[in-house]
Structures are given as structure tokens and as C-alpha cells.
């Protein structure tokens, strides 16, 4: 077994109270005496993992989970309040693109300065300058002050400098999300080559695809603690599942909150034909039946409004019961039912959503919204949303 490049041992961090809170002499004495500062706002605790050569790690988690704090401690920008962090080999970090760049100074000077922060000597920089400039690909702008750069150019320059260092361990904090498509691709290609040549990456990313592609292990942080650590696919998949559950929960909660004041509700929305698993799939021109069960608190029949929107939210068609003077059928004192049938749905292939709304009997206010997804499949190559009846005519066509 190779020695780990990075060993994070039961590390925690607590920030001190804000300025003006006093106790700072105390803090100075503490640090002088013990080399540690006791904080009061605990943001991270009990983080424990190792990174071995060639075993890249992705750090994932919601905003505020402590990812950046952890990275800062690993790079040495912050000192941990508890535990130890040991690194071996060369480490280079890109915590923020353009960090350490001075706006008034030219790109070239900033490049030199940044390279020297990363431990490159002037001679190293001179030897690698052409490579760095080629990678950054910002042309003559290198002689202009950084303040005239677009953010994409700053990113390119920052990454190019780090890339030239080729550290044993490269640490990045969500920096690949900036820059244009082609530069991102170049970065990813560079990282892949770097990894294949034995480099090791420690990255924070919200892009699970990227994490799965580049990392072997993943660390999932949640509210300042480790929620999961292990194989990248297991961890990222449970992270995504957790996210979906949370989103569904919050949608459900939002609906419940809305319903508190609402009086008329959609109790159930079902699509026919039914599907066993996942969203319903139909073909172009197939029939679709939207079945609604509605709730009325006062026994009066609510109005129903049903709409079809494309998955991106573009409305396709919407119709309400009172448009057609239809009235939901009474089941009992509070329950009503009505179906909307499309005998042949001319939708083009794609993903769609049925939105069913309950309205008050006067048809004035929307009081509840429920959605169901379905997919239309088929081989049509036509463009747009719906199949329109049509024919092509030529000049000598008789029945013009």
C-alpha cells in the first residue's frame, strides 16, 4: 500500500465569534500557548479520510455543508480547530479562479506572481511560459491589466498556471463551472491526462457526472459532518436520491401550505392508459384520458382546469370545465369527479406534463395544482409541439 498523499484525521473547525465580541487577547494567548484557537461557531467536525496516489476524491454536499471550509483547511489557508491534516508531496490548490490576481497589473505579471505563490521560480516560469500562454489562449491580452479581462479569461489564466505546476495533489473548489464550453473541455481533458499520468485530484463539485467521471471516491458532507464516504458511484447515487426525496418533500410541503387556505382541491390525478412504472408513455396520435377526483368543502361543484405543457414549461393547450359548460359529477357531499378525454393527441414526441387545477365554482380563482408527467414517443421528424393536419400542393394541383 502506498503512503497516502493526504490524511485528514478527525478534523473539525469552529470559527471564533465576530469582531467586537471580546476575548481576542484570550485567543492570542491560547494560540501562543497551545497553537490552537477555540472557536465558538462549529461548522465542521469529525471529518476523517485518506487520499492515496491516483485515487481521486470528489467532495459533494449541499451549500453550507462545510466543503469549502474543509478544502481551505487542507490547503492550509485555515487552521483546523481539532484533528490533524497531513500532506505529502506537492500540493497545488485552486480555491477560486483569479485568487491573488491584482486587477491593475498585466496578465503576465499576475501569472508570474501566481506561479511564485505556487512555488515556481522565475526560471521555472520562463521555461514553461509558452505552455502556459498556449493553454490560457488569451493572445495579446496577456499584456493588458487583468481588470480588462472577462471572467472567462481570468479563469483560463488561473487554470493554466496551476496546470503548469503538475502537483502530486491538485485541489479545486468548483472552479470548472466557469469558462466557456471549449475551455471546460480543455480543462477536463487536461485533468484526465493528469490523472492518467498518476496525478490525484481532490475536487468540490456539484456536477455528479463530473465527479463520477474523474474521481474514484466521494465524500458527502452534510451540515458540517460526513454523511457518507466511499465508492464514488454509491455515494453520488445516494446523494442524488436524497436530493430528489428532499425536493419532493419540499414540493409536498409547499402544496400542503398552499392548501391550508385553499378550499377546493384536486384529490387525485390519474392518466389513462395507466403505466406500471415511471411516467406514462404513449405514441403520437394515441388517446389520453385525464381522470380527476376533486374535493369541495361546501358541497358546491368546483370547476376544473386542465392544461398540457411541455417539460420546459411551454404551454401547449389548456381548457376549463366552464369553457365547455361541463360540470363535475357528484360522488358524495364533498367529492366530485370528471375526466377529460383526448381521443387522439397530436403531440409530437417529447416529454410533457399534465397540470390539473381545482377552481372555485365561479371559475375565478385557481385553488390547487397537481401535475403528472408523460412522454410521447414516435418517429416523427416534424418540428414544434403538435402535428397539424396538412398536405403539400404543387402548381398543377387540381383542387387548389
Amino acid at each position: 500500500m502506498t503512503e497516502p498523499l493526504l490524511r485528514v484525521n478527525e478534523v473539525g473547525k469552529a470559527y471564533p465569534a465576530g469582531p467586537g465580541a471580546g476575548g481576542r487577547w484570550r485567543a492570542i494567548l491560547d494560540i501562543l500557548a497551545s497553537g490552537r484557537s477555540k472557536g465558538v461557531k462549529r461548522v465542521l467536525g469529525g471529518v476523517d479520510f485518506e487520499v492515496r496516489r491516483g485515487e481521486s476524491v470528489g467532495i459533494i454536499g449541499a451549500n453550507g455543508a462545510g466543503k469549502s471550509t474543509l478544502l481551505k483547511m487542507i490547503t492550509g489557508v485555515l487552521a483546523p480547530s481539532e484533528g490533524r491534516i497531513e500532506t505529502r508531496g506537492s500540493v497545488a490548490a485552486l480555491l477560486e479562479l483569479g485568487a491573488g490576481f491584482e486587477p491593475d497589473v498585466t496578465g503576465l505579471e499576475n501569472l508570474r506572481m501566481n506561479a511564485s505563490f505556487l512555488g515556481l521560480s522565475r526560471a521555472d516560469v520562463a521555461a514553461r511560459l509558452d505552455d502556459i500562454l498556449a493553454f490560457a489562449d488569451i493572445g495579446e491580452a496577456i499584456h493588458e491589466p487583468i481588470k480588462n479581462y472577462s471572467s472567462g479569461m481570468v479563469v483560463r489564466l488561473g487554470f493554466a498556471v496551476v496546470a503548469s505546476v503538475r502537483p502530486d495533489l491538485l485541489i479545486t473548489d468548483e472552479v470548472l463551472a466557469v469558462g466557456d464550453e471549449s475551455f471546460q473541455k480543455r480543462c477536463i481533458r487536461w485533468i484526465e491526462r493528469y490523472l492518467s499520468e498518476g496525478g490525484t485530484l481532490l475536487m468540490v463539485s456539484h456536477n455528479m457526472y463530473q465527479v463520477q467521471k474523474l474521481c474514484r471516491h466521494a465524500l458527502w458532507l452534510e451540515q458540517g459532518g460526513v454523511r457518507a464516504w466511499g465508492d464514488v458511484f454509491e455515494v453520488t447515487q445516494s446523494y442524488l436520491a436524497w436530493h430528489e426525496r428532499r425536493d419532493a418533500d419540499s414540493r409536498e410541503r409547499a402544496r400542503a401550505a398552499r392548501l391550508d387556505g385553499a378550499r377546493y382541491r384536486v384529490e387525485r390525478l390519474t392518466l389513462h392508459p395507466a403505466s406500471d412504472n415511471g411516467p406514462l408513455r404513449i405514441d403520437v396520435g394515441d388517446p389520453l384520458r385525464v381522470e380527476l377526483a376533486l374535493h369541495s368543502p361546501d358541497g358546491r361543484a368546483p370547476q376544473a382546469l386542465v392544461g398540457i405543457v411541455r417539460a420546459d414549461g411551454t404551454p401547449v393547450y389548456g381548457v376549463a370545465t366552464d369553457h365547455d359548460e361541463a360540470v363535475p359529477a357528484r360522488i358524495d357531499d364533498h367529492r366530485f369527479a370528471i375526466d377529460l378525454a383526448f381521443d387522439g393527441l397530436p403531440l409530437l414526441p417529447g416529454s410533457y406534463v399534465v397540470r390539473a387545477h381545482a377552481m372555485d365554482p365561479e371559475g375565478l380563482r385557481l385553488q390547487d395544482t397537481v401535475e403528472a408527467e408523460f412522454t410521447v414517443s414516435g418517429r416523427s421528424r416534424a418540428l414544434g409541439l403538435v402535428e397539424l393536419p396538412h398536405r403539400w400542393c404543387t402548381g398543377d394541383d387540381a383542387d387548389r
Partner: protein
């Protein structure tokens, strides 16, 4: 890295003005002319008896080294908040930031000092060239002292913002407690022995002895201050380094 930082700090003082470097020389000369007018013409200040010198020359020899000393400490103290962005994003040796800020400030004032020394013959004073080596040693001691105190100031400033207000005032006190505008002999007898406690005062006397009187050997005070200033420098740096990992928490 220190060299890059130093160059950047030196350049940073003049970014935006094309003729920036000119001001390194010009400002001290203008200031010298102002002092010459104020102390020579208005106040008619006199050098201590027995010295046949214009007051302004006598003042200038101590004034610019003091400015270098003071600026180095103030700049070092300001260096951490100035580089807050760097400190929070880039792992680097933070003591180098403070040292480079202090060095840049000191070097610039010494450059002005050199310009003033060159211009002094205009006031009818010749600088004794045989004293330059001794003066250089005294300046080196002064620098080590300033950098060491600068380390303390820089580290404490991170924890106490009040230092921004306090430090200039303290240095102003120190300025008047140092024989720059006056000669130590002008104090009443019973206060004379207090000079022992002002490490800068003796250095100023040694500078005058070297540059005005052409004393070739370094003064006793300078020699005695060599180990003391080295100690202040090392202890200051150790203090700074001990606290430095926590700067980001408090900055």
C-alpha cells in the same frame, strides 16, 4: 517568492502614475526644502552648541531614517488586511507578505534619504563619505528593529483593528521621544538617562556622528543594538508565525 512580492509592493506604490519613480526622489527633496524654510527661516532653530551646521541638515540625517522606521511598521501592520483576499484564497507564507511590505516601505524611504544626502551640499553641508559604512550598519539595525516590530504589529492588527488608530499615535509619541527635532543635550539633566530606554534614539545619534562628523567606526549603541535588533526580528517573526495559521479566522 520574497523577491516577487517585494517588487510587487514597490511597484504597487506607484501604479497608475507614469512618473511614479520620480516621486521617490522628488517628494523628499520638496519636504527638505519645506523643512529648510520652516526651521531655518521661520523658527531659526539652532543645532547644539559647538556644531557648525545648518539645522535642516542636522534634522534631515535623523528624519528620513525615522520615516523609514515608522513607515515600515505601519505598512507591515496594514499588509494583512490589504492582502485579505490573498490570505483567504491562496496558501502562502504569510510572514513574507508582512516582511515584504515592511521592506518596500523602508527601501523607498531610504531611497529618499539618499536623494536628500546628495542634495544637502545645496545647504552648505558636506556629507562625510568615510562614515557611510558605519551609517549603513546603523540603518541595517534600524531595519531589523522595524521589521521585528512590524511582525508584531501585523499579527496584532489581525486580532485588533483598533491598532489602525492606535499605531500612528504611538509612533507620533515615539517620534517626539526621539531626538530628531532636537538634540538629546537639550533635555534637563534628570531626564538624560532615559535615552537608554529608547533604542532608536542612540541609533539617530550614531547616524549623525557617522554622516556629519565622519566617524568611521560604528557607534557603541549601534554595536550593542546588533544582537538586540536581531532578537527583536526573530522573536517578532516567531510570534507572527505562531499566530499566522489563524489569521483567516479573524481577518
Amino acid at each position: 517568492m520574497f523577491r516577487d512580492l517585494l517588487l510587487r509592493d514597490l511597484r504597487g506604490r506607484f501604479v497608475g502614475s507614469r512618473s511614479g519613480w520620480l516621486w521617490v526622489v522628488l517628494t523628499p527633496l520638496l519636504l527638505l526644502a519645506v523643512y529648510g524654510f520652516v526651521f531655518g527661516v521661520i523658527f531659526r532653530a539652532r543645532v547644539p552648541a559647538g556644531l557648525d551646521l545648518p539645522f535642516v541638515a542636522w534634522l534631515a540625517i535623523a528624519m528620513w531614517p525615522w520615516l523609514a522606521f515608522q513607515d515600515a511598521i505601519l505598512r507591515a501592520a496594514a499588509s494583512m488586511p490589504e492582502h485579505a483576499n490573498l490570505i483567504s484564497k491562496v496558501p502562502l507564507a504569510r510572514d513574507q507578505l508582512a516582511l515584504s511590505a515592511a521592506t518596500a516601505a523602508f527601501v523607498l524611504q531610504v531611497a529618499g534619504f539618499v536623494a536628500v544626502l546628495v542634495a544637502l551640499p545645496l545647504f552648505g553641508v558636506a556629507i562625510a563619505p568615510q562614515g557611510l559604512a558605519a551609517a549603513l550598519l546603523t540603518l541595517a539595525v534600524l531595519f531589523a528593529l522595524a521589521a521585528g516590530l512590524g511582525f508584531f504589529a501585523a499579527a496584532l492588527r489581525v486580532f485588533y483593528r483598533d491598532l489602525d488608530q492606535l499605531l500612528p499615535t504611538l509612533l507620533m509619541f515615539a517620534f517626539f521621544l526621539t531626538p530628531i527635532l532636537y538634540a538629546p543635550e537639550m533635555l534637563p539633566d534628570h531626564l538624560q538617562s532615559l535615552w537608554m530606554f529608547n533604542p532608536v534614539a542612540g541609533l539617530m545619534n550614531d547616524l549623525r556622528a557617522a554622516l556629519l562628523h565622519g566617524q568611521v567606526l560604528p557607534g557603541a549603541h549601534t554595536l550593542w543594538m546588533v544582537p538586540v535588533s536581531a532578537l527583536v526580528f526573530l522573536v517578532g517573526r516567531a510570534f507572527f508565525r505562531r499566530l499566522a495559521p489563524y489569521f483567516e479566522d479573524y481577518l
